[in-house]
Every structure is written in structure tokens, then in C-alpha cells.
């Protein structure tokens, strides 16, 4: 009796999520094996691996994979290193710590499209932007960031958004650090660096793992910043996998090839997810 009720209570969540997962995914798998272009809706036929072949041999593919890796890798390194440093910096009380914390985490709540537009126009514009002004004040020639260093510009925008997340997680984690242990180490003559290196860093190892994996999942499919600021260009220089698939599907109407690309993205994300789910599962007590 109790079991039936329990199941009934869980049923809606489980069923909708199951549908959400199975229906689109099986459609993607099906589409990836047929020739299907929205411009010629009549002619769908089975083509086997051809779509995958087409997607992988597309000259944009290797660039997109490279860009995706570079984007995910750089943002992870920037946010984790700076995140640990900054959260350690604001761990001890000082004047206005609460306000500093609020200022530091705010960029996370700025919507990605606004993020990209503010950076693109007001910060990085080569004529009127703040950077141009700083460069000129220093006697240098202003740089057109988005066309000279498109991927780097995207990395800056995305890091600006995700650094606050890392700080937020690490600050929370640091609060649970054993302060008596730190004091004992200090009594024994340990320097701040030693305490940081041998007590704080090991304490943060788990949060760091979690941050890396969660960010990786989100960063693999960065889209809005690219869509708004560079459109993947110039050329393919700032096209990542997500943008390339979008380009195939909604700009070239090539359903088959876009689906093949979509599945490649799913497989990549699953490799990351596998480790994340194991890490979370280990910690989960029911």
C-alpha cells in the first residue's frame, strides 16, 4: 500500500523526465541517419553514417572542436585558480566584506545576452570602449578585440560570468573548514602559505572537482555569448560545437547533419557527466 502511494507520488516527475529524455534523443538518433533538409521536406532517405561523415569532415568541425576545448579549458583554469585565490582572500573578516561578496558574485546573475552586449560594445569596442580608452591613456593603439582575438574575447565574457559561481561555491566550502586546525598549525609556526597549501587546498579538492564538472557541462554548450557578439566569426575562429550545430540546423536547415553533430555533443557531455554523477553519488545518503 505504502509502496504504491510512494510510486504514485514519484510517477509524474519520473514520467515527464523519461519522455523529455527519450523522445528527443531517439528522434535525434533517427534524424542523424537520414538525409533530411527542411528546404526539401519531401526527400528523406536513409543514409547510414553519411551525416556523421559530412559533419566530421566539414572544415569547421576540427576548428569547432579545438575552439570548444580551448574555451572550456581556459575558462575552467581561469575560474578555478582565481576563484580559489579570491575566496581565500575574502575568507577572513575585513571592512565591508559583505558588500565585496555581493559585488563579486553579481556577474553570475547577468543574463548571457546582456553580458555579451555590454562587453562587446561598452568594454571592447575599439573606438568608444573602456579598453580603448585605457589603451589610449597608456599611449598604446586600441585593439579591436572581437575581430582580432574573437575566441579570447568570448573566453573573457564567459569567465566573467562563471568566476562568481566558483567564488560562491568555494566561499561556502571554506566556511566549513576547521578553524581550530588552522590555529593549531599557526601555533606550530606554519606560514599562511603553508596553511593555504596543506590545509585549504586539500579541503577544497572536492568542491573544485564539483565546480570543474558542473562548469564543464555548461561550458560545452556556450551559445548566447557567441550568437550575440561574434556570430562564430570571423570565419570559424570563434565557432564552438554548439554554435556549429545551431548553424547547421537553423541557418542551413540541414536536420540530418545537425542531428549527427548533436549526438557528438551528447557523447562528449556524457563523458564529463559520467564522472560527475559518480562523484555526487558517492556523497549521497538516502
Amino acid at each position: 500500500m505504502k509502496r504504491t502511494i510512494t510510486r504514485l507520488l514519484m510517477a509524474p516527475s519520473v514520467i515527464v523526465l523519461l519522455l523529455w529524455m527519450i523522445i528527443p534523443l531517439s528522434m535525434t538518433i533517427y534524424f542523424s541517419t537520414i538525409h533530411y533538409n527542411l528546404l526539401y521536406p519531401g526527400s528523406t532517405r536513409f543514409v547510414g553514417w553519411l551525416n556523421y561523415d559530412f559533419f566530421i569532415t566539414d572544415p569547421a568541425f576540427l576548428t569547432a572542436i579545438g575552439n570548444t576545448t580551448l574555451l572550456v579549458g581556459s575558462v575552467l583554469i581561469i575560474t578555478v585558480v582565481l576563484g580559489v585565490a579570491l575566496s581565500a582572500l575574502i575568507d577572513k573578516p575585513f571592512f565591508g566584506r559583505g558588500i565585496v561578496r555581493v559585488l563579486l558574485i553579481s556577474p553570475f546573475f547577468v543574463m548571457p545576452t546582456v553580458n555579451a552586449l555590454v562587453w562587446k560594445n561598452m568594454m571592447m569596442n575599439p573606438v568608444y570602449g573602456i579598453f580603448a580608452w585605457i589603451w589610449q591613456s597608456l599611449g598604446l593603439t586600441p585593439i579591436d578585440w572581437l575581430s582580432t582575438y574573437p575566441l579570447f574575447s568570448i573566453i573573457v565574457m564567459v569567465s566573467w560570468q562563471w568566476l562568481p559561481f566558483a567564488i560562491l561555491v568555494f566561499v561556502t566550502a571554506l566556511q566549513s573548514q576547521d578553524h581550530e586546525q588552522k590555529e593549531a598549525a599557526q601555533m606550530d609556526g606554519a606560514t599562511s602559505w603553508h596553511i593555504f597549501r596543506y590545509l585549504t587546498i586539500p579541503h577544497l579538492s572536492r568542491p573544485i572537482t564539483v565546480v570543474v564538472m558542473i562548469e564543464a557541462i555548461f561550458l560545452l554548450s556556450v551559445f548566447a555569448q557567441i550568437y550575440v557578439s561574434t556570430n562564430g566569426g570571423p570565419g570559424y575562429s570563434s565557432t564552438n560545437l554548439a554554435y556549429m550545430i545551431y548553424n547547421q540546423a537553423l541557418l542551413q536547415f540541414n536536420v540530418g547533419t545537425a542531428s549527427a553533430g548533436g549526438l557528438i555533443a551528447v557523447v562528449l557531455a556524457n563523458i564529463v557527466a559520467f564522472f560527475l554523477i559518480r562523484a555526487v553519488g558517492k556523497n549521497l545518503t538516502v
Partner: protein, 276 residues
């Protein structure tokens, strides 16, 4: 210098450094806010102007030009709609998993988490085609459905961890006093976890409000929430940063303030309880 003096100096140095970094990182938001009160000429003034006579003109123009209020209403309806539906579906599930765990509860929770790992681009094509076939493209209903499903795993997880932390003794006492399951839920569990449910809802609203991938790809003029409306400002028809800033400020301000209030829930929700 004595040791206390040294310590004081260190605190001042650390504090100043933290303040400088925080101000630098916050600067783009501050600048956006400031620019929204400038005229277009002031907005692109070079060198940038810090002091000027503020105007509210931009906000009026944004409203007139892209019907800000309509898109804001879309954002509100979609975020709140998706959050409320997701809560209604998630509360029973989280309740039963927290209070009557079975052998497979853990597996189900982890499986739910795994659905969140499916990258949106992977299912863009089928969702787009299904939306087209069922007439859900560019409708609020379409986005509400997507956002409900997108956030459901996070919501179940957060509620599960709140329910699990409720003191079991109170529930047992209620049962001893002859409470039926229904009164147990409505009179004991709900009042005790109202804070948890509200902060879960708040997090869900933030995530919906800022979602950009589906909003951009599945909506056009009718159902576009603020994220998609702002994206339409990316095509430059001359420089109009002041108006862009005004629109952006209006779009972000409520959610930044929301975010300040639920920092802690954000950590728990997004790390699936792995960091507390």
C-alpha cells in the same frame, strides 16, 4: 611594529585588495547602469564621462521601440509558470523519496541528475520540429514546458535535501497524535519547509529568467522573453548604447537582487548538494 599592528596592517591590505578586485569585476554592471542614464552622445563620449546630468529618456524609448513591458511580462509569465508547475510535480516526488526511501531511490535521483547533463544542442532539432508540428514555436506555453523540464531535476534535488533535513521526531509525534498522511503533509511538512520551497522556487526563477539558448531559438516576436529581446539589440543600427544599457538594466536588475538573496541555495541547487 608590534604583532597586533602587523596583523592590522595585513587585514587592511587584504581588505583593500579585495575591494579593488571586486570593483573591477563589478565595473561592467556599474557602467551599464550608469550609461542607461546618459544621452546617446554622452554614452559614446571619449574619454568616457563619469559625471553628467542623468536622463530617463532611454527607458521611455526602450519601452516604445521594443515594447519592453510586453517582453518583461513574457519573462515573468514563463519563469513563474515553469517554476510553479515544476514545484507541483516535484514536491510529491521529493517528499516520497525523502520520507519513504526505497532501494532504488538513490538510482532515481542520480538518473534525474543525468537528464540535466544532456546538452541542449543535442536535442535542438527534434524540439524545434516538435514545437513546429504542435504549434508551440514562439508561444509562452512552449517555453514553459521546456523550462519546467529543464529545471525539474534541480528542483527535485533541492526539495529532497530540504525534506530530508526535517526533524523526523516532529513527524513521528504528529503520527502518534493520529495525523493522517494528508494532514501530516499540509500541517507539518509544508509549514516546516516553506523556506526551502521558496528558495528553490527563487533559484528556478533565476535560471529561467536568464536562459538564453531555448529562448533565442524557439521564439520570435510573440513569446520572446527579455533574453531574446536583448539579443535583438546585437544587430547594430547605429550606436545606441544608452538605450541598450537601459534595456539591459531593466532586464537584469530584478534578477541580480533576487540572486543576492539566495546565494546559498544557488550553491546547493547547482552543485546538487555536493557542497554545503
Amino acid at each position: 611594529m608590534t604583532l597586533t599592528q602587523q596583523k592590522k596592517l595585513k587585514t587592511v591590505l587584504i581588505g583593500s585588495l579585495a575591494w579593488i578586485i571586486a570593483l573591477v569585476l563589478f565595473f561592467p554592471i556599474f557602467w551599464m547602469f550608469l550609461t542607461s542614464f546618459k544621452t546617446e552622445a554622452q554614452a559614446i563620449a571619449f574619454p568616457p564621462e563619469l559625471f553628467f546630468k542623468p536622463t530617463l529618456e532611454n527607458f521611455a524609448i526602450v519601452q516604445e521601440r521594443s515594447d519592453y513591458l510586453y517582453h518583461a511580462m513574457n519573462s515573468v509569465v514563463i519563469s513563474f509558470g515553469a517554476t510553479i508547475i515544476a514545484l507541483i510535480i516535484a514536491i510529491p516526488a521529493a517528499y516520497s523519496m525523502a520520507f519513504f526511501p526505497g532501494k532504488r531511490t538513490k538510482d532515481i535521483l542520480l538518473w534525474m541528475l543525468s537528464t540535466k547533463m544532456l546538452p541542449s544542442v543535442g536535442v535542438l532539432v527534434p524540439i524545434y520540429l516538435l514545437g513546429r508540428d504542435y504549434g508551440l514555436l514562439d508561444t509562452r506555453t512552449g517555453l514553459i514546458i521546456i523550462f519546467t523540464l529543464m529545471n525539474l531535476p534541480i528542483i527535485v534535488w533541492m526539495l529532497f535535501s530540504y525534506f530530508k533535513d526535517l526533524p523526523k521526531e516532529i513527524l513521528e509525534a504528529a503520527r502518534m497524535d493520529g495525523a493522517t498522511p494528508w494532514t501530516e503533509v499540509t500541517k507539518v511538512v509544508m509549514p516546516l519547509s516553506v523556506g526551502g520551497i521558496i528558495s528553490t522556487g527563487l533559484l528556478s526563477i533565476i535560471l529561467c529568467w536568464n536562459e538564453a539558448f531555448w529562448s533565442i531559438n524557439l521564439t520570435a516576436t510573440n513569446a520572446a522573453p527579455l533574453t531574446a529581446m536583448i539579443a535583438s539589440y546585437s544587430s547594430p543600427e547605429g550606436l545606441f548604447w544608452a538605450k541598450l544599457s537601459a534595456a539591459s538594466t531593466l532586464a537584469c536588475a530584478p534578477i541580480i537582487i533576487f540572486g543576492w538573496f539566495c546565494q546559498k541555495q544557488l550553491v546547493q541547487g547547482l552543485t546538487f548538494g555536493a557542497v554545503k
